[in-house]
Symmetry: C2
Subunit: 199 residues, 2 copies
Amino acid sequence: MGAQAPASLRMRNQSQRRKRIVQTAAALALRGGVEAMQMRAVAERAGVALGTLYRYFPSKMDLVVAVVTEELDLLERSIERRPPAAPTAAGRAVDVLLRATRGLMREPELGDALVRSLIMTEATTDLAPRITDLLWRVARQETDAERVPDRESPDYLVVGSLCGVWIFEVLEVLKGHRDVEQVQHRLQVTADRLLAGMD
Amino acid sequence: MGAQAPASLRMRNQSQRRKRIVQTAAALALRGGVEAMQMRAVAERAGVALGTLYRYFPSKMDLVVAVVTEELDLLERSIERRPPAAPTAAGRAVDVLLRATRGLMREPELGDALVRSLIMTEATTDLAPRITDLLWRVARQETDAERVPDRESPDYLVVGSLCGVWIFEVLEVLKGHRDVEQVQHRLQVTADRLLAGMD
DNA sequence: ATCGCCAATGAAACGTGTTCTAGTTGTGGT
DNA sequence: ACCACAACTAGAACACGTTTCATTGGCGAT
């Protein structure tokens, strides 16, 4: 995926630095959440100047997105390793979303960050499409990550909607209005209707 | 709704002040969005001290929510005045959501504020349930706003999901990833599946 | 009319994201 | 080996939400 072969020494240094920054940021976010992930603190602990940090990540949000993106990589690998086994498309999609939900809730601070970044970001890399694609593959039981889906088909479209619903539900959990049980139920009902006949 | 009879002179003054603050905030938000609605500016233009502003609205978010709540009142009255006429539940729901969408896009800055507040707010008054209830009434063609819906029924639940999808779509529009046409199409497809058989 | 008290005032100060400036360093091309 | 230049550093400064506090003033009970 993203890992370019670092052509020169300069680039190698830069990608090292970048990685160090993201790791530092993740560590800070893990305990204390987004608010603990303060730009000065990240810069200091990563051993770079504040200005440098801002050269790599023009805003805090960009940094959050970078952290969250790594989390998403983890989820994708976990799915690959242990694909959902439910018999229906809806079941598989719900399975994946619940796994993601529980993952997020294990670190609510990070979950908060994810959702906020999914929502607020004008950032370059958009996370929602990635999740939608992931759901799409899972629902269709395509292991092949390369095959590009027909993004205009109604089925793909409603998978996008399901992604939206999930984000919304995670928000509700984070706000303390629901627990994971309720989310499971709601996602199941919603997915059943949205993905009916996709098997 | 909320208008208590102001019992004393003191209370009258307070509700006047409060109203003045919200109006000022709305005016500022209208041109320039949330960022133009700065606490110092609101306080100054409303003719109150900063501390007073914070007595009435403990955080900027609370102020935004107050502004947005007024907007929502407007929408509800507009629906009451001119109810959606589509023959299906899904059609009516989509009609209302599109009206809301277009209203928001007329003032994108304010739309941004609404959605952000729907999302971020830990604030007391929660807006999403209000929208869900509104959709529910419209879908069922109940003009009676008093009748409390069965919040556990699957049908009510998927209306909640539809509300989530709408918020998500508005976000995409605000981010410039979609136009209203696309949103209409997506909402229609989604609502058709979610609300099938609700007529 | 007087008094007590709560709410409003004004102004300063804090915290954190973001920007700016001036000086330094290390890398790649020649 | 040397130069040019982009990237890095240190730190100050700015913007805006939020907090604090001493002072003032008007409402309501007496």
